[in-house]
C-alpha cells in the first residue's frame, strides 16, 4: 500500500495552523497592550506573562514585550481581564491598528 493510496482511503489529518481559517476575523474587540504599563516591557525582564498563560489560543508570545498574533486572536479578552497591570485594553475592531495609521 503506497502513501498516496493510504491517504485517499481514510481521514488522517496532518497538523497545521489555521484549520478554522483566519480566526482573527472573529474579533469584535481587539486587545492592545500598553507597553508603558505592561510589566515585562516596563521592567525589560521576563516576568508576569499572565496574558501568555491564560490565552486559549496561544496567540500571545512569551517575549519582551508580549506580541499578539492578530491573524488568529479571536478577541476573547481574557488577557485584558487577567492582566494584573491593567495594561491590555479591548478596543473596537474598527479602530485602525497602529501600523495601519
Amino acid at each position: 500500500m503506497t502513501t498516496d493510496k493510504f491517504c485517499s482511503m481514510l481521514s488522517r489529518s496532518k497538523p497545521g495552523p489555521g484549520d478554522g481559517g483566519n480566526t482573527g476575523s472573529w474579533r469584535v474587540l481587539r486587545p492592545v497592550i500598553n507597553l508603558e504599563a505592561c510589566i515585562p516591557a516596563k521592567r525589560n525582564k521576563m516576568a508576569c506573562f499572565h496574558c501568555w498563560l491564560y490565552c486559549p489560543d496561544s496567540v500571545v508570545s512569551k517575549t519582551i514585550p508580549p506580541v499578539i498574533n492578530y491573524d488568529y486572536c479571536k478577541g476573547c479578552g481574557i488577557c485584558a481581564e487577567e492582566c494584573p497591570a491593567g495594561a491590555i485594553s479591548m478596543v473596537d475592531e474598527s479602530t485602525p491598528l497602529v501600523e495601519d495609521k
Binding site: 484549520d19 478554522g20 506573562f49 486559549p56 489560543d57 488568529y72 476573547c76 479578552g77
Partner: protein
C-alpha cells in the same frame, strides 16, 4: 501538592496550532494547550466526539501536533486500552496513552468503557474536561450539569437533579491517582498532568472548564468564573493518591477561611438565572457541610 511550575518556567513549546475552531474564550482550549505541554511529544491521544473533535480540526488539517485517534462516543476507555495494548505488543512502552473526553463522553455514555479500563488497571491517563453539559451539540443537559441549570433540554425550570460526582465514581475503583483541576488554575492542572505521567496504571484527572456560550457569560470572564467556582467551594481542587485525599492549590488555601457565597458564582452566569432562593440556600448548605468535613 505544591505548585512546582511557574509561568516563567512553563515551557513555551506549543502542541496546539492557533486558528482552530474552538469558541472564543474556550476553557477547554486553555487546559488542552496546557495539558499537552505537560504530556509532551511522546504521547498518543484518544478522543471521542466532543468540542475537542471540533477544536482538533476538520480533515485534512489537524490543530493538534500529536498523534490522535478519534473514536466512537462510548468507547474512549476501551480505545485507550487498545492503544496501550498495541504499545506493549510493539515494545513501545514509554509512550503516554491519553484519553481526553468531555463530561458526557466520560460520565454518561462513556462510563462503562472507562469503568472497565479502571477495573482492569489499564496503564492510561484519562482527562475529562467538564463543561457541565453537551456543549458541542448545543448545550443539552448531561449527568454533570448542576442542579437548576438552564440548558436546551432543561429550558424553563432548569435541571431538576444534582450533578453526578464522576471523580468520586472513578475513585471508587481504587485506582492510584484521581485529581480534579480547573481551567482557571492552569499551572495546578499542568502539575497534576505532569505528575500523572510519572505514575502508572489508570490515572484520572477531572478538569472544570468554563464555557462562555454554554454558561452564558462574556468570553473575557472564563478565568474569573472558573476561580469563583473554586473559591465559593463548589468545585474543589484535590488529589486522591493511593486512596489518600488531599485538597490542593486554591482549595487547600480556602480551608479555615471564609468562602465566597455560592450565589456570587451563580450571578456571573445566565445559565443560573432561573435558580430560586430555595435551591441556592440548599446548595450553600451542602457546600458548607462539605467544607465542615475538610
Amino acid at each position: 501538592m505544591e505548585n512546582q511550575t511557574s509561568i516563567l518556567n512553563l515551557t513555551e513549546e506549543e502542541f496546539v496550532h492557533p486558528g482552530n475552531r474552538a469558541c472564543s474564550g474556550c476553557g477547554l482550549s486553555i487546559v488542552y494547550r496546557t495539558g499537552l505541554k505537560a504530556l509532551g511529544k511522546n504521547t498518543i491521544l484518544v478522543v471521542p466526539p466532543s468540542c475537542l473533535t471540533v477544536l482538533q480540526g476538520l480533515y485534512p488539517v489537524a490543530s493538534t501536533k500529536l498523534p490522535c485517534v478519534n473514536v466512537t462516543f462510548a468507547s474512549t476507555g476501551a480505545a485507550a486500552t487498545g492503544v496501550r495494548a498495541a504499545m506493549r505488543a510493539l515494545k513501545k512502552a514509554d509512550v503516554n496513552v491519553v484519553a481526553w473526553a468531555g463530561d458526557g463522553g466520560t460520565g454518561d455514555i462513556g462510563i462503562q468503557a472507562l469503568s472497565g479500563a479502571c477495573e482492569r488497571g489499564e496503564d492510561i491517563i484519562y482527562i475529562c474536561y467538564d463543561n457541565e453539559a453537551y456543549m458541542n451539540t448545543g448545550v443539552q443537559r448531561s449527568g454533570t450539569t448542576p442542579q437548576g441549570v438552564l440548558t436546551t433540554t432543561t429550558p424553563i425550570k432548569g435541571k431538576l437533579q444534582e450533578k453526578k460526582d464522576v471523580p468520586a465514581i472513578i475513585a471508587a475503583h481504587g485506582i492510584g491517582y484521581v485529581a480534579t483541576a480547573s481551567a482557571a488554575y492552569p499551572l495546578d492542572f499542568y502539575d497534576k498532568v505532569k505528575k500523572a505521567t510519572t505514575l502508572s496504571g489508570p490515572r484520572y484527572i477531572h478538569v472544570h472548564t468554563p464555557c462562555p456560550p454554554g454558561w452564558s457569560f462574556d468570553t473575557r470572564y472564563t478565568i474569573k468564573v472558573g476561580k469563583l467556582a473554586v473559591q465559593s467551594g463548589l468545585f474543589d481542587l484535590y488529589e486522591i493518591e493511593n486512596g489518600e485525599f488531599r485538597l490542593t492549590g486554591a482549595s487547600k488555601n480556602l480551608v479555615g477561611k471564609a468562602r465566597i457565597p455560592v450565589t456570587e458564582y451563580f450571578q456571573t452566569q445566565g445559565r443560573f438565572k432561573s435558580l430560586d432562593q430555595e435551591i441556592i440556600q440548599k446548595v450553600q448548605e451542602q457546600v458548607d457541610a462539605k467544607w465542615a468535613r475538610y
